[in-house]
């Protein structure tokens, strides 16, 4: 009746996951109670859960990402502390069965449920506003993509308390991930959580690509798009081209595990090297999917906070597309040590170095954007400068690892771990926090507390370097990654320093949370009245903060790059004659997304635990939801012209206030 699921699936004899689960449950129930007590269920349902507005969906993505970033960070705290404690004869407090799940969950969560939603959320929120349009190409699809990602995140977290998670690392290499060597449900949780979330990512890629290529304001040719839109486009194209490979590869592993197929098994001709090749054919583009939008965010920030246009816009576009294409040609550098031979290793090593050309060009263009500008060191700019320092060094260690003989010494060591954290944290995480600080006023109508933001940055920056510099040293000393305990006493002091760094990072996270709370409480004093708190250059800053549901009462006529800046220079914000308002059709809210997400969760849980009737029921339910959606008669509402006019006049009043102030 319940497949493989029994009461033994809950780890009654392991205090750590039980306590963690209890805390999460308490927090969830507390939140639900709060919503009930303040009577906000209708609001939540109508304004957020069933919303198909890209701005709402973007915010929900970011919230999901931040929550999962925190969960992944807690995993990291456990890993660092375990390694610091388990030196010599001590076994630490996490037995291998547990530790192995934690580092696997850490990687999976951080990349697929932390960084991806954060980056996708920012793209979702910002891109339509920057393009001068009302929403993405497929709003309901957008909502569905979010809820599928949330379903995957939910499944990963359920594995903490019902069953177990994978113990293979974040990429489940066979034969270890085959049923013979991982007989439990851990790898299955991984497979289905990632497949479901991967579908959400693919939906996003299609949505954003179509939006950027086919849905832009009048006059916005390709070379008049903001740089962030270009990087969002490159990232979305990579998603479309890469995620299906992951889907296929995990499906093959799933067939091996569920139906006795032999894609990657030791027996009957399976080929484990094929898994490694296929999964990294996705895996390498994936990191560019994450980092390209971060590059775009920094392009916006460097130009805004230098008061200058981005230097070398066209070569930035060229470099972005160059990186996009070459990212598909370097995947073998993740396994130089598989024994491919001199020719193969050299070819991929050279290709990997070539991709650094694109990034180098970008760094120099950012630097020259500052040249001759008026540089302001507000919080987003601090993140940007911290990024340049951190990411360039991280990129350098990457090119070092692209030299195969060097990689033979350092593959799978803590040097490698330090490298990829260097570029992912320095690039993606710094970029996401920069973007959040930068666009928060636009999303919510008030600014974030500046000094707390700066303090959070300094703690993150310092904490990062204190945590990861020792890991570079340990890698050079021969320490391999993923060790549950350590037998070399010389390594102990370095592990201690790294653990201390994690404490600093935790302080940074705390200050970041305090910043949010303080800013909410002082929001009236921090109110963004003009819609343009940073003196920005692109079209999102021409809308009120927060923008109305339809973004623009009248779609802007774009005449060049940095459209909002041009308008400000020419005082076009105050047109001589009144704009002609027309009724605006907006897509209707729908529960399709969240209901599909619920059925996806049920189907995932069912297939993990072999509860076949539930799987069938979930599929029927999901398809029925789709049919109900397809059957509806009205898919748009109309905002009458009078309402549009009223809202827009408030925006014009705010602009007048800014003009007189300036």
């Amino acid at each position: 009746m319940l497949g493989k699921l029994t009461w033994e699936a809950v780890p009654w004899n392991q205090p750590i996951p039980l306590i963690a689960a209890a805390l999460v449950l308490a927090a969830t129930l507390g939140a639900l109670a709060f919503v009930t007590a303040t009577g906000r269920w209708t609001y939540l349902w109508r304004e957020w859960i069933t919303s198909v507005d890209h701005k709402r969906i973007g915010v929900m993505y970011v919230l999901l990402g931040l929550a999962m970033l925190l969960r992944g960070f807690i995993d990291a705290v456990m890993m660092r502390s375990q390694q610091a404690l388990a030196v010599g004869h001590s076994a630490g407090y996490l037995p291998p069965e547990h530790y192995d799940q934690i580092f696997s969950a850490h990687g999976t969560i951080m990349i697929l449920f932390g960084a991806m939603p954060l980056v996708v959320g920012l793209m979702n929120f910002v891109v339509p506003l920057q393009l001068g349009v009302r929403d993405v190409a497929f709003p309901t699809f957008n909502s569905t993509g979010f809820w599928l990602t949330a379903a995957g995140a939910l499944l990963v977290n359920v594995s903490l308390v019902v069953g177990e998670f994978a113990r293979t690392g974040w990429l489940p290499y066979p034969p270890l991930s085959e049923t013979a060597y991982s007989p439990g449900v851990g790898v299955d949780y991984y497979l289905w959580a990632v497949q479901i979330a991967g579908l959400g990512s693919l939906i996003n890629g299609i949505n954003l690509t179509t939006t950027i290529l086919k849905v832009r304001a009048p006059g916005m040719g390709y070379l008049r798009m903001p740089m962030f839109c270009w990087t969002a486009l490159a990232s979305s194209l990579l998603i479309i081209a890469a995620f299906p490979v992951l889907t296929a590869t995990l499906a093959m592993l799933g067939l091996d595990r569920y139906a006795g197929f032999h894609f990657f098994t030791n027996e009957a001709g399976g080929n484990q090297m094929m898994f490694v090749n296929l999964v990294w054919a996705w895996g390498h583009p994936e990191v560019y999917i994450l980092v390209l939008p971060a590059f775009g965010i920094f392009s916006e920030i460097f130009s805004t906070f230098s008061g200058k246009p981005l230097f070398g816009y066209r070569s930035m576009v060229a470099a972005t597309l160059f990186i996009c294409v070459v990212s598909f040609m370097v995947w073998l550098h993740h396994f130089f040590t598989m024994g491919g031979g001199g020719d193969v290793n050299a070819a991929f090593g050279i290709a990997t170095s070539i991709i650094a050309v694109g990034t180098g060009v970008k760094v120099y263009n950012w630097i020259f954007t500052m040249y001759g500008g008026e540089v302001r060191f507000e919080t987003p700019m601090l993140w940007a400068l911290g990024f340049v320092f951190t990411f360039v060094i991280g990129g350098m260690t990457g090119v070092l690892l692209a030299v195969p003989p060097a990689d033979f010494l350092l593959h799978n060591s803590l040097f490698l771990v330090a490298h990829f954290h260097n570029v992912i944290v320095g690039g993606v995480v710094f970029g996401v926090f920069a973007g959040i600080e930068y666009w928060f006023p636009k999303a919510f109508g008030f600014r974030l507390h500046e000094r707390l933001g700066k303090a959070a940055f300094w703690l993150a920056f310092t904490g990062f370097w204190v945590t990861f510099t020792p890991l570079y040293a340990l890698g050079l000393m021969g320490m391999t990654r993923r060790l549950q305990h350590v037998d070399v006493p010389e390594w102990r002091p370095w592990l201690y320093v790294s653990a201390a760094g994690v404490v600093i990072l935790a302080a940074g996270a705390l200050v970041q949370a305090v910043q949010l709370v303080v800013s909410i409480r002082r929001r009236e004093a921090l109110r963004d009245v003009t819609g343009d708190p940073w003196n920005g250059r692109s079209l999102e800053w021409s809308t009120p903060s927060p923008p109305p549901a339809f973004n623009f009462a009248v779609l802007p006529q774009v005449q060049g790059l940095d459209a909002h800046w041009r308008a400000k220079q020419a005082h076009l914000a105050q047109p001589a004659d009144k704009p002609r308002y027309e009724p605006i059709a907006t897509p209707r809210n729908t529960a399709t997304g969240v209901v599909v997400g619920v059925f996806a969760t049920l189907m995932g849980f069912a297939v993990i635990w072999h509860i076949w009737w539930l799987l069938a029921a979930g599929f029927v339910g999901a398809y029925a939801t789709f049919v109900v959606f397809a059957w509806r008669d009205r898919d748009e509402d109309e905002i009458p012209a009078r309402e549009v006019a009223r809202i827009d006049r408030a925006r014009l009043a705010g602009l007048r206030a800014r003009e007189t102030r300036a």
Binding site: T209, K214, P218, P244, G260, A268, G270, A585
Partner: protein, 204 residues
């Protein structure tokens, strides 16, 4: 988006957002391209594993050219009737649209029956996917295509139910466009499949 924005825009920036028909078609093309990438991964696995027969039967022992020819004929014919349904939709003829869709569905179903027979026969002979990596790759690749055909039939059935009820409104026209794209793409993939797997594979 307001009506004024739906100009004859090409999306190259001069006219504003493109029309819904263009946007939907474009997005669906992107989905089809992603699907082709997924099939490519299965094709790649096939290429790698084609000779890993683990001492068991190979393509030459197992493939039946006449069956493959029949399946191809059925699928190509269903593509033809699908095209007819698109013409019937354009002409706003409910009867012919439904008939063409029905024919498409029946031909597609017949294709699936032949394929299911082939799979069952192979399993009965001890040449199921568990026998060797070669057979795993075969069943997964051909089966993935078959699953897509089955999903297409489900979609087709839903639309056949919906068109009489709702009529030829704009949303349904767009969905017919998408279905046509989907069905023809499956045909293209089948051509690749029978060439690479059955024709080349039987020679191995």
């Amino acid at each position: 988006m307001s009506a004024a924005a739906h100009v004859r825009a090409t999306g190259h920036g001069q006219g504003g957002p493109a029309s819904k028909r263009i946007v939907v078609g474009y997005g669906f093309w992107l989905f089809l391209l992603s699907d082709i990438v997924m099939f490519s991964a299965f094709f790649a696995a096939w290429a790698v594993l084609a000779r890993s027969t683990a001492g068991g039967p190979s393509g030459r022992d197992l493939f039946e050219p006449s069956r493959v020819a029949a399946e191809t004929a059925l699928l190509l014919a269903s593509s033809f009737t699908c095209g007819l349904s698109a013409l019937a939709t354009r002409a706003r003829s409910l009867v012919w649209t439904e008939l063409a869709l029905l024919a498409t569905g029946l031909l597609g179903a017949a294709f699936l029956v032949l394929e299911a027979q082939e799979f069952a026969g192979l399993v009965a002979r001890g040449a199921g996917p568990q026998r060797s990596a070669f057979l795993s790759a075969f069943f997964a690749l051909v089966g993935c295509h078959g699953l897509h055909v089955a999903a297409g039939l489900l979609w087709l059935g839903t639309m056949m139910a919906q068109i009489p009820v709702k009529g030829f409104r704009a949303t349904l026209e767009r969905r017919m466009l998408c279905f046509n794209l989907f069905w023809h793409t499956l045909d293209i993939i089948w051509v690749g499949l029978f060439t690479v797997v059955y024709l080349l594979g039987a020679g191995a």
